[in-house]
């Protein structure tokens, strides 16, 4: 009996032991930097102070970055989720050769963001981009794209949506595959059409997948940085100067680590609030 208990105890410890390496890495490379960032934000020229936050909240550039980040995410996240769902519904069809379409839709995910950003900046170049050449052949005047303050953000959203949708599509596809066919059969017997089945069977059954996609996509988009760094430098007229890029600029271009940390801390708080809100909304629906 005693021997069995000891074995039970040992086997009970096993999952924790197996999780330990991941936990250690998470603490060192995720939690510690977040903690360090919060602490650094409360420093000003080496002394503990709220002055960094005072200066940051009085800075129009910071508020512009907050506004740009929020606006971008209000458009990009719903757009990506809806498109991913539509793509998943399309490639979920039982057709011959559908695997080819799945691969093609997923292909942009396999390209790294810097490569994708450089390709887009070449395609949408003001002087010799393919896009302007094609538009020009239809008599459309030359477009600024990344150089135009009214188009730059739309171009970045297009780039990230093109690159990201295939990834989220795969989660939806997995969710769709998990829905029992008998539910659709029952709905068909009840006389439900395609859209009735979509709204009353598919979407409710995809609630957990949707929650994951919303939370993961929101945090990914709030931390978006590479296209701004590689293409627009936050411009034109600061229309693509998101919080993440502003934090990078403060820390690594201006050498002001306290302000960079303070901006990062604000960003983390925003992400936590948004994710909590999303969980709350989904939980309310569950009830």
């Amino acid at each position: 009996m005693t021997r069995l208990n000891a074995r039970d105890k040992r086997s009970g410890m096993l999952p924790y032991l197996l999780l330990l390496p991941v936990l250690v890495f998470a603490v060192i490379f995720k939690l510690y930097p977040i903690f360090y960032s919060f602490v650094s934000g409360f420093q000003f020229k080496g002394a503990v102070s709220l002055r960094t936050y005072e200066l940051m909240f009085a800075d129009k550039t910071f508020w512009n970055s907050v506004s740009v980040t929020v606006k971008m995410n209000l458009i990009m996240t719903p757009l990506q989720i809806i498109l991913s769902l539509i793509m998943a519904l399309m490639v979920n069809a039982n057709l011959k050769g559908i695997g080819v379409y799945r691969s093609v839709y997923y292909l942009p995910v396999t390209i790294s963001m810097p490569v994708a950003a450089i390709c887009f900046s070449m395609i949408l170049s003001y002087n010799n981009g393919v896009a302007n050449t094609i538009l020009g052949s239809f008599g459309v005047p030359v477009q600024g794209f990344f150089n135009d303050k009214t188009q730059a953000m739309a171009c970045i959203i297009a780039l990230c949506t093109w690159k990201g949708c295939g990834y989220w599509m795969m989660f939806y596809l997995a969710g769709l595959k998990g829905i029992d066919d008998s539910l659709y059969e029952a709905a068909t017997v009840d006389g439900a059409g395609y859209f009735a089945k979509l709204f009353h069977v598919t979407l409710p059954m995809l609630r957990r997948t949707t929650l994951f996609v919303i939370v993961a996509d929101t945090s990914t988009n709030l931390l978006l940085f590479a296209p701004m760094k590689l293409i627009t430098d936050g411009g034109p007229r600061s229309t693509t100067d998101v919080l993440m890029y502003e934090a990078y600029r403060q820390a690594f271009k201006y050498g002001n680590y306290s302000k960079g940390s303070a901006i990062t801390s604000v960003l983390i708080v925003i992400i936590l609030l948004v994710v909590l809100l999303e969980f709350r909304m989904m939980a309310d629906r569950d009830r």
Partner: protein, 426 residues
């Protein structure tokens, strides 16, 4: 017993000598965007300084400042010698990144450098950044394209001191040349005139400077009342009008104009004097590279301003090889290493005595630099927030190029810079 003792003592002696010899070996590491040029001459330093090995690491020009911020804020001692853009020296000293070099340069040696370059590298009376060279902006043109167009363009009439071409004259000629060469646009001439370092304060600020505008307040902490003045509005309007008219380049990034000029896609371009050698490397020949003094604005001929300042060599404050690093910095900036370096990089010399016929033979454009140096040259903004100044002002120039309302663009830049520089005011 005696034998054993003798062997032990001999071994101790050998080991001591070996360790002493090993201790004498010093390796210094240099971080720069000009590794090829420094690698080509470092053997000479190593030969003159036995026991010192120099390793030079290349870093992309655009990433160099970011690299320094990452390395030095972490107090890294990986690099001993840092090649630093001159105006950044003051900010780096303030952050504790650079070591003073007063022990490695005598007062006479420092005094031999051009005064503006010494000022740039001196903070609170200590010398921190020794100039590798200076720079100068001039107007280049493609002689073959001008000849082919049949338009007369005689630069011999300009002496730079009393006479030089004006912007309006240049625009008129450049448009005629472009129209003659490429009347229907099928040849692919991109623009009549380009700025090599477009949307960068180094080159673009010479426009408001040439109308009497300053770069920053005397204390280096304010731009309100400095860049929101008539000289700046006029310069930006002049620039934007000519971009909109398709005369100045649009859509090209900084340095993209260079390759297009070498490829005969742009007949006139503003570049630095060291670009002469890059043009040769880009396929042009001494016979088809033309150059003259930077244009002046009509009615402001006496106020014309050219850009100056350049890269400096400094010692990492966290280096454990400061002595050897100091020797190297002295050698490559003041000593014979600088003569070798100038032949490689073709910068404007850092002292008057280095303007020699030998140097002009390598780069005849330096004759213009010699004439402009100290006469029309205007230093970049002297401020501890130079990185912030560059980022925000570069963005302003780019926004104006892309059609932003000039008053709004200036007002935004003033707001952003006043906020950013407030950090240094405390």
């Amino acid at each position: 017993m005696k034998k054993a003792l003798a062997i032990v003592l001999t071994l101790v002696l050998v080991l001591s000598v070996a360790s002493f010899a090993a201790a004498e070996e010093t390796t210094i590491r240099v971080l720069t965007h000009m590794a090829n040029q420094i690698n080509a001459i470092k053997d000479s330093f190593e030969a003159a300084n036995p026991g010192v090995t120099v390793i030079v690491d290349q870093c992309n020009y655009e990433a160099l400042n970011d690299q320094y911020e990452v390395l030095l804020s972490a107090k890294s001692s990986e690099y001993d010698v840092l090649v630093v853009d001159g105006p950044n020296a003051a900010a780096y000293v303030q952050r504790g990144y650079l070591a003073p070099m007063d022990d490695y340069f005598t007062a006479e040696e420092v005094a031999a450098f051009s005064a503006a370059l010494v000022n740039q590298g001196t903070v609170n009376g200590s010398f921190y950044a020794a100039p590798l060279g200076d720079s100068c902006t001039i107007l280049y043109y493609n002689k073959d394209l001008i000849a082919e167009s049949g338009i007369e363009f005689n630069v011999d009439q300009y002496d730079g001191v009393n006479t030089r071409i004006t912007w309006n004259e240049l625009i008129d000629i450049a448009c005629q040349v472009t129209k003659a060469l490429d009347p229907d646009g099928s040849r692919g001439i991109l623009f009549p005139i380009a700025f090599g370092q477009v949307s960068e304060v180094y080159m673009m600020n010479t426009l408001p400077n040439s109308l009497g505008g300053a770069n920053i307040s005397e204390d280096g902490l304010h731009v309100a009342g400095v860049i929101d003045t008539e000289a700046w509005y006029d310069a930006l309007k002049f620039y934007q009008d000519n971009v909109n008219a398709g005369i100045f380049d649009r859509g090209l990034g900084a340095f993209e104009g260079y390759s297009n000029f070498y490829a005969a896609k742009i007949p006139f371009i503003v570049m630095t004097t060291d670009s002469y050698n890059y043009a040769l490397g880009g396929g042009m020949t001494p016979e088809n590279i033309g150059f003259t003094y930077l244009p002046a604005f009509d009615g402001h001929e006496s106020e014309v301003a050219t850009a100056c300042g350049n890269w400096t060599c400094a010692i990492n404050a966290y280096s454990s090889n400061k002595e050897a690093a100091g020797k190297f910095v002295n050698w490559i900036t003041y000593g014979e290493g600088n003569d070798l370096f100038l032949k490689q990089e073709s910068m404007v010399p850092n002292m008057a005595s280095r303007f020699t016929d030998d140097l002009y033979a390598v780069n005849p454009a330096l004759k213009i630099a010699a004439a402009e140096s100290g006469v029309t040259s205007v230093a970049r903004a002297v401020t501890p927030g130079f990185n912030e100044y560059c980022a925000i002002m570069n963005a302003m120039w780019e926004d104006v190029r892309n059609g932003a309302d000039i008053e709004d663009a200036i007002a935004d830049a003033v707001d952003q810079l006043e906020s950013a520089l407030a950090y240094y005011a405390e």
